[in-house]
C-alpha cells in the first residue's frame, strides 16, 4: 500500500468483481442449464437461476445413454477414457523426459547434442500441422481406437525435457561426487537423489500435463471411431450436432459441466503447483 485512496480501493474491488462475473458467467449459465428439465430449456429466454432437476440430470447423464436418439457411450465410460488418456500422457511425458534429461546432463556420449536437437524439433511440430501423416502412422501401427494410440503419439516432449534439464543443472556437482564415493551407480543416483530433489517440479509439471491431456480434442477426434473409446471432451461436439435436431440442453450442459470439473478442480486445488508449472514450462 503506497497511499491511502479509499475511492480507488473500492473501484479496484469493483473492477475485479465485474471481471470475475464476466469470466464466470458462461459457467454459471452452464450450471443453471444443467439444473432444469428439458421442457424449460426450450423456452426463451433461458433461466438465469438454478432449478430443481440437478440430480435427475446428473444421474441421467452419468449412467443413462446420454442424449436420447443418439448412439453413444455412457458418460461415465467417457470420463474413464479421458482419465486414462490424461494420466497416460502426463506420466508418460514425465517419465521419458526425466530419463532423456538425465542422459543429456549427466553423460558424455557421441551424438549427445544430436539427440538434444532432435528432441528440440518436436517443439516446432504441434499435432495440428501434421495431422494427416501422423494419423497414417498410427493407423499402420494398428493403434486406432486404443489407449496407446490416444496417448503415445503425444508423449514426446521438448518442454518437459528442457525443464528437467534446467532443474538438473542447478543441482550441485558435489551431490554426484559424494554419491559416487559412496558407490552409487548412475541408476541408483537417478532414483535416490535426482528424483527426490526434483519432486516439486515433477508435481508442478504433472498439474499442467494433466490439463493438457484431459483437454486434447483434435487427436482423439481423429483416431477414435468406436463409441466405447470416445473421450468426454469430444462428446460435447457430437452432442452439439445432435442438438440441432432435438435440443436437450440440460443434458448437454450437464455433460459439459462433468467434462470441466476434473481439470478445474486440479487447477484450483493445486494452485501453487499450477502457477509454478505454468511459469516453468513456458520459459
Amino acid at each position: 500500500m503506497i497511499e491511502n485512496r479509499p475511492v480507488l480501493n473500492i473501484a479496484s474491488h469493483a473492477v475485479l468483481i465485474i471481471g470475475i462475473v464476466i469470466v464466470a458467467l458462461p459457467i454459471w449459465i452452464t450450471f443453471v442449464a444443467a439444473t432444469h428439465d428439458p421442457v424449460r430449456m426450450t423456452q426463451a429466454p433461458i433461466p438465469m437461476l438454478p432449478g430443481g432437476h440437478f440430480w435427475e440430470n446428473f444421474t441421467q447423464t452419468l449412467f443413462g445413454g446420454g442424449l436420447s436418439g443418439t448412439e453413444s457411450a455412457p458418460v461415465w465410460r467417457m470420463l474413464l477414457n479421458s482419465l486414462m488418456m490424461a494420466l497416460m500422457i502426463s506420466f508418460g511425458k514425465i517419465a521419458i523426459s526425466l530419463l532423456s534429461a538425465f542422459a543429456i546432463v549427466y553423460f558424455k556420449f557421441p551424438f549427445r547434442m544430436g539427440f538434444f536437437w532432435l528432441i528440440f524439433i518436436t517443439l516446432m511440430l504441434p499435432v495440428e500441422v501434421r495431422i494427416l501423416p501422423t494419423f497414417e502412422v498410427v493407423a499402420d501401427l494398428g493403434m486406432l481406437n486404443s489407449y496407446w494410440g490416444l496417448s503415445i503419439p503425444l508423449i514426446a516432449s521438448a518442454t518437459a525435457t528442457f525443464m528437467f534439464r534446467q532443474v538438473f543443472l542447478t543441482i550441485p556437482d558435489e551431490m554426484l561426487e559424494s554419491a559416487r564415493i559412496d558407490g552409487a551407480g548412475p541408476l541408483r543416483f537417478f532414483w535416490d537423489i535426482l528424483i527426490p530433489l526434483s519432486r516439486t517440479n515433477i508435481a508442478a509439471l504433472f498439474v499442467i500435463l494433466f490439463i493438457y491431456g484431459w483437454n486434447q480434442y483434435l487427436w482423439p477426434l481423429l483416431i477414435t471411431t468406436e463409441t466405447d473409446m470416445t473421450t468426454i471432451v469430444m462428446s460435447i461436439k457430437q452432442m452439439l450436432e445432435a442438438a440441432e435436431q432435438s435440443p436437450q440442453w440440460n443434458i448437454i450442459m450437464m455433460t459439459a459441466l462433468l467434462a470441466m470439473i476434473p481439470p478445474v478442480f486440479v487447477v484450483v486445488a493445486m494452485q501453487r503447483l499450477f502457477v509454478q508449472g505454468l511459469t516453468e514450462t513456458d520459459k
Binding site: S12, I121, V129, W249
Partner: protein, 293 residues
C-alpha cells in the same frame, strides 16, 4: 549444458534417451517429412495415381483466393484475440496488484478458465449466443440487433473471438500479475513521493517495466490463436458461414480429412510448420535476451 562431473560413456545413456527419441522419430519426424514429401505431390481424384509436381501445390496456394482469405482471417482473428484477452488481463492485473487483502481469492476466481478445454469454451459460448434460446440474442434484440451467427459471418467471427479470448484471459492475467508483483516497491514509492498518481504511475512506470512480459504474451497468444483454437472453431461455426471463420488450422483439417486433398493439405501443413518455427525462434531469442538483463 553438460555437468563438469559426469558418468563415463557406456550403453546406458543411449537406453535412457531411446524412448523419447524413438517416439520423436516415429510420431514427429517421420510424419513431418511425409507432409513435406506429400506437399510436392498431386493425387488424382480417385487416389489411383500420384504425380510429382515440385512446388505446384504451393504456387497454387499463393494464388488461391480462399487460402489467402483464410490467411488474412487468421491474422485478424489472432490480433483480436490477443488484444482483447491481453488488455482485459492487464486491467484486471493492474487492479489486483493494488489490492492488499483478498488478492489470492481474486486470483483463484480468475485463473480457472485456463482448465476449460477449447471445445468446451466453444460449446458454452454457442449456447449463450444460440439464436433462438441464448441469453445474449434475447438481450440484443432489445437494442435492435438481430443475432444469428449461423447466417452472419461477422457475428460468427465475433463469437469465436470472444470464446477464444475468454479462455486466454486467465493465462495472461497470471503472467501480468506475476510481472507486476516482481517490480520493486521502492520504485513505485519513489514515483508516488514525486507526486505521480496511480494512473501516471501505471503508464510511466509499471507498463514500461512489464513490457518484456507483454512481448512474451504476444508470442504465446499468437501461437494459441493460430493452433490451439481448432476446438473452438469446430464446435462453434465449423468454419462457416461461407468460410467466414475458416482459420488456417481448420482449413488444413478440412481440406485433408473432409476434402481429401492430400497434396494441398500437406502444403498447408508445411507452411504452418514454417510459421511455428518462426514463432519459436522469436520466443527463444526473447528468452535469451531476458536472461542477459
Amino acid at each position: 549444458m553438460l555437468k563438469r562431473v559426469h558418468f563415463p560413456t557406456s550403453l546406458l545413456p543411449y537406453l535412457l534417451v531411446a524412448p523419447q527419441v524413438i517416439i520423436t522419430l516415429i510420431f514427429f519426424i517421420w510424419p513431418a517429412s511425409q507432409a513435406v514429401y506429400q506437399s510436392f505431390l498431386i493425387e488424382d481424384a480417385f487416389g489411383m495415381s500420384t504425380e510429382f509436381v515440385w512446388f505446384e501445390n504451393f504456387t497454387y496456394l499463393a494464388t488461391d483466393e480462399q487460402y489467402l482469405g483464410s490467411f488474412g482471417r487468421t491474422i485478424f482473428f489472432s490480433v483480436c484475440v490477443a488484444f482483447l484477452s491481453m488488455s482485459a488481463a492487464l486491467i484486471l492485473a493492474g487492479f489486483a496488484d493494488r489490492i492488499v487483502r483478498g488478492a489470492t481469492t481474486y486470483r483463484t476466481l480468475l485463473i480457472w478458465p485456463y482448465a476449460v478445454a477449447p471445445v468446451l469454451a466453444g460449446a458454452l459460448w454457442v449456447f449463450m449466443f444460440n439464436p433462438t434460446l441464448g441469453i445474449f440474442p434475447y438481450i440484443l434484440e432489445f437494442i435492435g440487433v438481430d443475432w444469428n451467427h449461423y447466417l452472419n459471418g461477422n457475428q460468427a467471427m465475433a463469437l469465436v473471438i470472444f470464446a477464444a479470448a475468454w479462455k486466454q484471459i486467465a493465462y495472461n492475467f497470471l503472467f501480468y500479475l506475476a510481472a507486476m508483483q516482481s517490480i520493486p516497491r521502492s520504485l513505485i514509492e519513489a514515483a508516488a513521493i514525486d507526486g505521480a498518481g496511480p494512473v501516471r504511475r501505471f503508464w510511466d512506470h509499471i507498463f514500461p517495466l512489464i513490457s518484456p512480459t507483454t512481448f512474451f504474451l504476444l508470442v504465446i497468444n499468437a501461437v494459441y490463436a493460430f493452433f490451439d483454437t481448432f476446438g473452438i472453431i469446430h464446435a462453434v461455426t465449423q468454419g462457416g458461414p461461407a468460410n467466414a471463420t475458416t482459420i488456417l488450422v481448420y482449413k488444413v483439417y478440412n481440406d485433408g480429412f473432409v476434402g481429401l486433398d492430400l497434396g494441398g493439405s500437406a502444403a498447408q501443413s508445411v507452411i504452418l510448420m514454417f510459421l511455428v518455427i518462426a514463432m519459436t525462434v522469436v520466443q527463444f531469442r526473447y528468452v535469451e535476451r531476458k536472461v542477459e538483463y
